[in-house]
Symmetry: C2
Subunit: 133 residues, 2 copies
């Protein structure tokens, strides 16, 4: 069983480096020049390279897999809105908070939000995980 | 402007290696032993290590960022259900299909699905992107 309750929360911080973006492009194969090409990105609405949304949201996987509920978490679903770009060397704080727990089995619904160092929400949404530690 | 229409589709294939899982654990910081520890995973419901859901779904970012609609795509939202595990050396085919396009601006809704080499759906859902090539 588990000792988690609604309202429990966990946090992780990470500064997204250029190396992270390049590595994520390699793993995912997503070579969108908005992430990789300074000249292309300079002409975009953002004026500079941005991190892949899926790289930023991987910090939610981090909080869930390491802390809340932690090891043995199995992702059932994920729903996210991307609100603002993440630039190279932005520091992202990902927070997950338990919003509900099923009574019949250890399925957790978590409200998830990623903010940058200025406190702006860059993405937010909900993850559902099965917890089998 | 663009020449895309509802029903347009694109595909990418990738075999998820152990090295991909280790690299994704490093980038995301998600060190859940279900992904990394053979002994822990042997005692899980899956009986072996599985890929991070967020690693598998990064192939959707790949299809969108590279092909459909391609470079200059900006993620607005993503919603996914994880249906089945992905094991080391499974080959995943990610498919994105345009399900709607806004008339007033280049916002695409894409139906996305990832299948393994046995044709089983491992994850599926919807992504919304703004296209500014």
């Amino acid at each position: 069983m588990h000792n988690f309750k609604v309202g429990d929360s966990a946090i992780v911080n990470k500064t997204i480096s250029e190396a992270d973006i390049v590595a994520f492009a390699e793993i995912s194969g997503d070579h969108n020049p908005l992430h990789l090409d300074a000249e292309f990105a300079a002409n975009s609405r953002f004026g500079q390279r941005i991190a892949h949304g899926a790289l930023v949201s991987s910090l939610i996987s981090n909080v869930i897999g390491n802390q809340l509920p932690g090891q043995g978490s199995i992702y059932l679903s994920s729903s996210l809105k991307f609100r603002a770009p993440t630039f190279i060397d932005d520091t992202i704080t990902a927070t997950a908070t338990i919003s509900s727990i099923r009574e019949d089995k250890p399925v957790f619904v978590l409200a998830c939000v990623c903010r940058n160092q200025r406190g702006e929400v860059v993405c937010e949404g909900e993850s559902v995980v099965l917890y089998e530690p």
